[in-house]
Point group: C2
Chain length 407, copies 2
């Protein structure tokens, strides 16, 4: 009998409880043992559930019960989750979490504590909701050196951008709709400013390259400045705007990492990821590019990823984890000057001058000109980013917007 | 020290040897032990390699060497691979294979022998080349009951169809080009007639639903009858033609399984899978739809999947495998009458009569009519397939073509 405690009975927590309780037969088959949800920790009262007797408000009930094998942390936030997880690991219990904030901030430390105690710390559900990513990356691509990871890691912003692209809805209306449909929080900052995607790319970068990447090391830009004009111009270049999180290993051993709105060519699989779906593209030195796609959030998808980790913990009670990374360090994540194409939008009341400068500097770059509005939008040819930026700086324009591209 | 024998030094086998030998440090880190390729079995001579001393022509060298822990079978075909794999498992060696023909024909039996001998039988590379599919399905989606699996499992046919769709190239020219580029064999039958995709959907269906599905149980249709007209009509309905392999669980516990050319809506992620790439979409009861995409063949991608299995075997020397399915049975795979939309093409020298029948039977179905050629192409509304077939039979036409659709 495997005894499990679930900390948190919100959206994901209630999904985990439902799957573990309602599908206990299915799960028992996967682990050749019975599963029992022994405790659910939540400060709120849940008196009308078939499993109301499992609730406790005291973490000590869980950590002090030697029968509890696996602790599921689905409370979210750093505190008190961090202390609860640390104590659980130290007490010899494996921990499964969906808490990306916690893993992005404390992953290396918690993995170390898990190792010292010969237990697991697993977090498949922390990136990409229900999509299998962590395990495929660590296990199935184990023969590869990972070179690059890029993807759409936030469903809320992808939903908003999709509404702007497909329904020509402006940002604020699309955000409101996302909120009305439960795809965005009342306070949407962590999604629309890119912080959520940032935490997830930190986790993927840490796993891919073996060293912890902290959120503050990642260049993070949200989607609040994207206008319908940008969307239209992108369309003219056969692109869509997506919030792309990416990380790449450099020959020096250092890495780059960023979250930013990007013009993605419609030829690229990532351009086809619509609505609240997520996708991660991983480049390995042997396999080339593989992509994982699916629901990036939601009660049951996320809960199913949590339960997959629970099954894995139960199947490998004291087996060393395949997830390994060490502490990060200052200077590990850097900006790197490499060849790229940029999207540029410039607007000037002196269109003739702007147009002359454009012709001088960017010559035959594919462009859209709107003389009446004084606007030029174009995709540069491929050059070193520093070279491109210098040229872009020379354009005399009242308004300038530059975005990265993915072709 | 983990000793490995590789049986077969063709495309995949040489890739496996290269990865295991050239990246031995990387792999040693993943398994906390050294790896050593002790034998390579091949009847041909390879005298000029840095590792020529490892070659043998005698299987007995491998099976009788108690130091060999893991046998990699990348010879292909049923014989002698089947006997070699059986003997290796019986001798207590784990076996990793990329041989879909063998797994589709003998998977249940070989898994049983592996279990009896407390060793592994693994075959990640047998479906989808380098794309992680088997492990994610068995492990990451373990909390799910799998409801349906569908995908593009053959890169050769996808390449040919893509050339027809994008470059308006006819079937024979596209096939020739595929052969010239090494994407199709001299004798392309097993690809273009659907047998290769059939073997792969057998493996996925067996794994998804727990009972062996044999190739002869699967309705299999190739792409040799697809014309450029079909491609054009599909385009008019915002669809592309793809060779779709699919399997689905029915409420009765029985399943359906088929490989057939299908009109896939451009809204569907599978429509965007181009060239020799493969993709598999899995529907789970909790997670919903997830998709895995990547290179479905090729030396290093396939070899990297083989080596991932080798790493897994080395890490779990005598651990029970997570891959389980039992013997199949007659009557397990059935045809099932369900609601669907069909694509229909009909051509008649009496267009007026055909048109009247079409209007009577299919009313407002979206259609393209070419009176001069006497042709009508249309997508039916959604009805039971048996009902649709009866109506289609009533159309008086010299030529009729019916395809399934995926919207």
């Amino acid at each position: 009998m495997i005894n499990i405690a679930i900390m948190g009975h919100g959206t994901v927590g209630s999904g985990v409880a439902e799957i573990l309780i309602n599908k206990s037969n299915h799960i028992a088959k996967s682990i050749n043992d019975d599963v029992n949800v022994k405790y659910i920790l939540d400060l709120r009262d849940f008196n009308d559930l078939t499993y109301s007797e499992k609730f406790t408000k005291e973490f000590s009930d869980i950590v002090n019960d030697s029968e509890v094998d696996i602790v599921v942390e689905v409370m979210g936030g750093i505190n008190p989750a961090y202390n609860f997880v640390k104590s659980s690991l130290a007490a010899g219990k494996s921990v499964v979490t969906s808490n990306k904030e916690l893993v992005a901030a404390k992953g290396a430390e918690l993995l170390k504590i898990a190792k010292e105690n010969n237990v697991h710390f697993m977090f498949e559900a922390s990136v990409g909701g229900g999509i299998p990513i962590i395990r495929p990356m660590a296990r199935c691509l184990a023969a590869n050196e990972i070179l690059e990871v890029k993807g759409i890691l936030n469903g809320t912003t992808n939903y908003i951008l999709n509404k702007m692209i497909v329904d020509n809805m402006d940002f604020n209306t699309a955000l409101k709709l996302a909120q009305d449909n439960g795809f965005a929080e009342k306070n949407p900052a962590s999604d629309i400013e890119g912080h959520d995607a940032c935490r997830k790319i930190c986790i993927l970068a840490s796993l891919a390259f073996g060293k912890h990447v902290y959120p503050q090391q990642v260049i993070t830009e949200g989607i609040t400045e994207i206008s319908l004009d940008d969307v239209d111009y992108a369309d003219s270049f056969n692109c869509v705007i997506k919030l792309i999180a990416s990380t790449k290993k450099l020959p020096s051993g250092k890495i780059t990492a960023s979250v930013r709105p990007t013009l993605v060519s419609r030829e690229c699989m990532l351009s086809n990821v619509d609505g609240v779906f997520n996708a991660v593209m991983i480049t390995g030195d042997s396999v080339g590019e593989v992509l994982f796609y699916g629901p990036g959030a939601g009660k049951l998808p996320t809960a199913s990823a949590v339960v997959a980790d629970v099954i894995d913990c139960a199947n490998h009670k004291s087996f060393p984890s395949y997830i390994k990374w060490c502490d990060g360090e200052d200077g590990y994540v850097i900006s790197h000057d490499e060849k790229t194409k940029l999207y540029v939008y410039a607007k000037s009341s002196n269109f003739a001058a702007l147009n002359d400068q454009f012709n001088d500097l960017f010559g035959d770059a594919p462009c859209i000109k709107n003389e009446i509005n004084g606007e030029i939008a174009f995709i540069t040819n491929e050059e070193l980013e520093s070279v491109l930026q210098k040229k872009i700086n020379k354009l005399s324009a009242e308004t300038k917007k530059v975005m990265h591209t993915l072709f």
